[in-house]
Amino acid sequence: MSTVTAPRPHAVDHVDVPDNYLTHSRGFLSWILTLDHKRIGVMYMGAVLASFFVGGTFALLLRTELLTPGRTIVSADTYNQFFTLHGAIMVFLVIIPSIPAALGNFVLPIMLGAKDVAFPRLNLFSFWLWLAGAGFTLYSLAAGGFDTGWTFYTPYSTTTTTGGVIPVLTGVFILGFSSIFTGLNFIVTVHKLRPPGMTWFRMPLFLWALYSTAIIQVLATPVLAITLCLLIVERLLNIGIFNPSMGGDPVLYQHFFWFYSHPAVYIMIVPAMGIISELIAVHAHRQIFGYRFIAFSSIAIAMFSFLVWGHHMFTSGQSGLMNTIFSLISFSVAIPSAVKTFNWTMTLYKGTISLTAPMMYALAFLFLFTIGGLTGIHLATLNTDVHLHDTYFVVAHFHYVMMGSALIAMIGGLHHWWPKMTGKMYDEKLAIAGCIIIFIGFNLTFFTQFMLGSQGMPRRYYDYQPEFQVYHVISTIGSYIMGIGFLTTAVCFVQSLRSGAPAPANPWGGRSLEWQCTSPPPHDNFKTTPRVGNPYDFSMLQWNAAEKGYDVDPAREAAAFAAEAQGEHARGHA
């Protein structure tokens, strides 16, 4: 076992401390039965990345099919199954669990200075549920696939003859519980396991984001579960709930579905925003600008997210009054997003900016999220949405938000915490090259789709009018470039695992608690409860050239703590 006496990494000799969470125990069972949040996070990450590979392969097949009007490589029915699978895999298996369950699981307890999440067994159970849900989704392919679109709109989904509909609905139902349990765990952990001294406003912003996300997960996901149950009941037992030929109402289904799936959009983007707050502050070595505004805007987005679902239905037949109200409330979501964007930009002002790969991803996020967010205005506005609804404009908009923002933040976060997770550094130049290639490919792919959509190309089309072909060809070329970018990034990670230099405890100069334990962290994270300060006070950091990382100047640290204590003392008497 370790002989660590000092809690500070810079006092620790790496050679003498072989024990970490990766080497703590060995064997397949030690992973699949582990209660360690770090191992569960790593397993989630592996599973999510594998799903991303599958979903991405479907995306490339779709784009290849769309190179020419009519048949290029597959039939219309196969195409319909491909886009359904691409959507369902990317939403339910990749983006929803990617940040909270994979990165969040790894980082959240360490950021809190805790040994684990509040309910480690529930945490492991939620991963098993994810595996079961993914298993059902795979099984649905063997059972005949499904061609309903990831939205499962009725009556098509209850009448289509493809055999995999019920298995995939069951799979998504189970995945929902995986998500609920993770959310529940995080809420309790943030409330109960914060160390002494970490008040709500001393939490790193990533924790605020995960906390807001967890609230949405717990409140919204049960509605999805109920909806999917009703859908299964209707399809299996012919009980008319949504199908008008049996006395049901298809618009009711859309209300139920979007009551979950709109908040789900924020389950995807809010934790991404949390990551960006960390990446920008840490790699610019600069107190985040407007901490409270960013923290409260996460909570505001979580609250508004429940009140805007009807903006998916402006043309579907809901009443004009409802359209008006939903349009009005939808605009309110734009405000906290704008606040965050401006605050991140201001954080760069007078920073000490290291242009590392995580920072490059954060800048890419700022660029792409601004486009994704601003094009939301076209869609929230009633009369322009009528023209743009269900066209490629919508496809481009949500890819800019879901992929250009949520996924880019996830990959940026993966680079950021990679040294902590694996104990290895990666090749910075290769990682930045990957980021730039992905960025170029992404914009080629999806910016053209804005034009496709505003020119009138409907989505989910296998065949299209010849005048749209030039846009489709550019978009497809972009998707191949993006594929090369992801491949480059994968090579970079594999190379790091095989021959990466050992990572110092604090390679970037972060101040939240995860940078105070070794890389990779020991099994129990911290031997003693760490001392909590302002997570964005970088004043005591100094560069350690031997370690190629940052460490803390004890004198300046003491000064910072003293100043902070005095500040609080003064406020207490004010």
Binding site: G320, M346, Y349, I353, L363, S454, Y461
Partner: protein, 369 residues
């Protein structure tokens, strides 16, 4: 601000054709001006904020970039109440303005005038049927120019959505409900399909979703009236003996998506050899319930003649399913009258006179000209 406001408030009454630009396709209805100016104004606001954020980002990153391990500067602002409130409140005000003008435009978009000309629209997997007040029907939507047109729409099976990009209108068709949509176009196209405006289905509905598109043809009022009268009677005007080759191919255009003429597999059985199959009692082809044609067709059986069987298959397609096909064909009850069915049956009887695309390959006999 004045030109902005006036261009938005003037919900331009004069419908005219507008050329395509970088973002939007050519427009040809009364809704185009309102929707397009809204779209462009939102774009201008987006350009402004996008370039503002990106410019700040680029300048700051360039100016404050630092080498690894550089001394950390500590003079940055940590917060600024005034700045933060201003970028909360200004976007809020802008958003409320956009909402208001969007709402105004939407009210115009969804409130048809009282004197509109009504067309009934039925969508089904995978096609459209347009019915006019005098009983005429058509596969393409034909409307009079210079007059408000209201579509009263319904779906026979799953969700569909009627989208005419050139008119900037869209509305879902929900089974079990009626929905409406209106527009006025002043730009005649004539009856040439290649000049018509696209009409797309924009709610995913399965295999034929992307081919569920038709054309909108706009005719001057007198030409429209003539077309309408002729269209209502077109089947009646064709002599009986010419019905199968004059009306047959036109009706077949609605069948060809699923039924081939040359034996190619489709969503439904090919028509190749269909008449030989149904009129031969010993025909081996069986239905999904195991019955053969001979079990169903013949004197004293469910269908006395093969013609009866074909007719019922068009009106009640799910009753007897030919193996291995599924129950996917929509009913044509109310869309195809007896003469239409006669034309289809006649075409089936003379399939050798048609090419694989359904065009009649013989020339009209001189005697019947």
């Amino acid at each position: 601000m004045l030109p902005i406001a006036s261009s938005l408030i003037a919900q331009v009454a004069a419908p005219a054709a507008t050329p395509a630009d970088f973002w939007l396709p050519a427009g040809a209805s009364n809704h185009v001006a309102g929707v397009d100016s809204m779209f462009h104004w939102i774009n201008y606001i987006c350009y402004f904020f996008f370039f503002l954020v990106i410019a700040m980002m680029v300048v700051f990153v360039w100016k404050y970039r630092a080498k690894e391990g550089a001394r950390i500067r500590l003079d940055g602002l940590t917060h600024h109440q005034g700045l933060e409130l201003s970028w909360t409140i200004i976007p809020l005000l802008i958003c409320m303005c956009i909402f208001f003008f969007g709402f105004r435009g939407f009210v115009d978009l969804t409130t048809p005038p009282k004197n509109s000309f009504d067309v009934n629209v039925t969508a089904f997997k995978w096609g459209w049927q347009f019915k006019y007040p005098n009983g005429a029907q058509s596969d393409n939507l034909v409307v009079p120019a210079g007059r408000p047109v209201r579509l009263v729409m319904r779906s026979n099976d799953v969700l569909h959505s009627c989208y005419i990009p050139a008119f900037r209108v869209k509305r879902d068709l929900v089974p079990g409900r009626f929905s409406t949509l209106w527009f006025q176009s002043d730009v005649p196209t004539g009856l040439d399909e290649s000049k018509g405006y696209h009409l797309f289905c924009t709610e995913y509905c399965g295999t034929g979703h992307s081919n569920m598109n038709r054309k909108v043809l706009v005719l001057e009022q007198p030409e429209f009236d003539g077309w309408l009268t002729k269209q209502a009677a077109w089947l009646d005007e064709i002599p009986d003996e010419e019905l199968y080759f004059k009306a047959g191919p036109k009706i077949y255009a609605r069948c060809q998506q699923c039924h081939s003429l040359d034996g190619t597999a489709g969503l439904g059985p090919s028509w190749k050899g269909i008449w030989e199959r149904v009129s031969n009692p010993a025909s081996a082809t069986a239905f999904t319930d195991g019955k053969s044609y001979g079990d169903l067709i013949g004197p004293g059986k469910e269908y006395a003649t093969p013609e009866d069987y074909i007719r019922d298959s068009i009106y009640n397609p799910g009753k007897h399913l030919v193996a291995p096909y599924g129950n996917v064909m929509p009913t044509f009850k109310g869309q195809l009258n007896d003469r239409g069915v006669d034309a289809v049956i006649g075409m089936m009887k003379h399939l050798d006179e048609f090419d694989a695309k359904g065009a009649w390959t013989k020339s009209v006999p001189v005697a019947t000209k």
